[in-house]
């Protein structure tokens, strides 16, 4: 099954992302996913300060500055992995270098391999 690992973290941690150690840990994690043959896709996201949100209501485009929801934690990146089941996905989520301070939301991808029998 394919799962998305969604990393949610505070603004404070966004500001510390270019720390050498953080960059190295992120790279090592991506390499481990590749080596295990479970990596499908992934990317880190820039600060929510640089986010712009768009919606179309009644045919009218609405654009506003900032992320979708003003909360304490923001989406900071995502990875997509292909593993046999939820326990394996949780295992990889727990190994994420941000798991020690951020929250990693694990969600199955829609329509990928879940048996709807």
């Amino acid at each position: 099954m394919k799962y998305a690992l969604l990393v949610h973290q505070s603004q404070e941690h966004f500001d510390r992302r270019n720390d050498k150690a953080a960059v190295a840990a992120g790279r090592a994690y991506a390499e481990a996913l590749q080596a295990a043959g479970v990596f499908v896709a992934g990317a880190g996201l820039d600060s929510p300060r640089n986010a712009t949100t768009v919606s179309v209501r009644d045919g009218k485009r609405q654009v506003h500055d900032g992320p979708y929801a003003e909360t304490k934690e923001f989406l900071a990146g995502f990875g997509i992995i292909d593993v046999p089941n939820l326990d394996a996905a949780l295992e990889w989520a727990a190994r994420h270098p941000a798991a020690g301070f951020a929250s990693i939301e694990v969600r199955p991808l829609l329509g990928f391999g879940s048996a709807k029998a």
């Binding site: 099954m1 089941n85 394996a88 949780l90 969600r107 391999g113 879940s114 709807k116 029998a117």
Partner: protein, 411 residues
């Protein structure tokens, strides 16, 4: 064959094998709701056909065969993907082998228990899910025991089952080091079935005994499935000790009787013996745990039936161990009372006062214990206040009356 014979046969199979059948079907499809639907259809088919054809020699294999066909039909209708094809092939082969040999089909209930108590499942759904899937307890009864509406309970159960299927929660027995924590979730979920709707005053006591028998059935099942897990034996021993006192908890006029005043002749000696047997098995593994300690405390109380006295020093020591493993409020209160009863009311009261106030504000046993210890210390005005507060925090009328009586009686 008469219909009543068929009904009796179906009832026997449902009682003996429901959980095993569900577990077997669900473990292979990853779909608990689908397994329930298919098995439900199989039981309906049995009701129709057994009166004419006779009860098959192996009713479980017959039901499994029909349920399997239903699942294949359902899967075809939904245009299955790769994984389901594999499952269908596997289940077909296994059903054939079950039919061919006289062997029993494999018992997957342990995997099902681990799925029900998976941390990815809503905690409030875990115990209900176990009761429904492993024992076949109906949703309305579960709802009433958990004091929620049947609609809310069935929604909770449906959501949990969808998550098991859609999020890909695996049917597996975890391996160490994960195993120990996951076992504790299973134990806690079973214990929650025993204590649901309950309150405690220095022991477990309540008018709501809704699911006690079911919880004990789950506990017995777990000790059969995990015979080498000491905490499974510990949990069962704990529940059996508490259950043994059911008849002694209220006097004939409905008055509440505290544990240390209960008539030991009313205790069930056979349940106590069974509890002691499991506690003894658990001790053999030399791995102490929360449930073994709690059961050991109840065991000390139970020995009053033989010795006529309660060894409070021993109880205080056991609580000390319990607090070290898990400093739960119930254990902290129990420890304070045991210290006081062992002859050191001042030290006991000091221990009680150390419990953080935010935990004690609405915790009835704390206020009852506080009243009791203050009275031992001859601080009657404060004791009255504490007993009154305890009385106002219980929903058990007999217990409330008892607490008001202690408040007024100066006993």
């Amino acid at each position: 064959m008469s219909e009543s014979v068929t009904h009796a046969a179906i009832e026997t199979v449902a009682q003996d094998s429901y959980g095993r059948l569900i577990a077997y079907l669900a473990a292979r499809s990853g779909d608990v709701a689908g397994a329930e639907d298919a098995l439900g259809d199989a039981f309906i088919a049995a009701l129709k056909r057994w009166p004419a054809e006779g009860v098959p020699e192996k009713p479980e294999a017959w039901l499994l065969h029909v349920a399997r066909n239903r699942m294949i039909d359902a899967a075809r209708r939904k245009q299955v993907r790769q994984k389901s094809e594999t499952f269908l092939q596997q289940i077909t082969e296994e059903a054939a082998s079950v039919a061919a040999t006289q062997e029993h089909f494999p018992d997957e209930r342990l995997k099902l228990l681990f799925v029900c108590a998976h941390p990815a499942i809503d905690p409030s759904a875990q115990t209900p899910l176990m009761l429904q899937t492993v024992l076949g307890v109906d949703a309305a009864r579960i709802a009433s025991a958990f004091l929620v509406s049947p609609a809310a309970m069935s929604q909770r159960l449906v959501r949990a089952k969808n998550k098991i299927r859609d999020a890909g929660i695996p049917f597996r027995v975890p391996e160490p080091p994960e195993l120990e924590e996951r076992v504790s979730f299973v134990l806690d979920a079973i214990y929650a079935a025993y204590t649901t709707g309950w309150e405690s005053l220095m022991e477990i006591a309540s008018t709501h005994h809704a699911l006690a028998a079911e919880a004990i059935a789950l506990g017995r099942t777990l000790t059969q499935l995990m015979p080498r897990e000491p905490e499974a034996h510990g949990l069962l021993a704990l529940m059996l000790h508490c259950e043994a006192r059911r008849e002694a908890r209220y006097a004939s006029d409905g008055e509440f009787v505290p544990l240390d005043r209960q008539d030991t002749a009313l205790w069930s000696q056979s349940l106590i013996d069974e509890a002691e047997k499991h506690l003894h098995s658990a001790a053999g593994f030399k791995r102490m745990g929360r449930y073994q300690l709690e059961a050991a405390i109840q065991s000390v109380h139970a020995s009053r039936a033989k010795t006529g006295r309660i060894d409070w020093k021993e109880i205080a020591l056991l609580y000390e161990g319990l607090v070290r493993i898990a400093p739960r409020i119930g254990s902290l209160v129990g420890r304070a009372v045991a210290i006081a009863q062992a002859g050191e009311p001042g030290t006991g009261f000091a221990a009680l006062k150390q419990i953080p106030a935010d935990q004690t504000a609405n915790y009835q046993p704390y206020w009852a214990a506080r009243g009791h210890l203050l009275r031992l210390l001859d601080r009657n005005d404060e004791a009255v206040e504490a007993f009154n507060r305890a009385a106002s925090l219980t929903d058990d009328p007999a217990l409330r009356e008892y607490l008001f009586k202690r408040s007024a009686d100066n006993i």
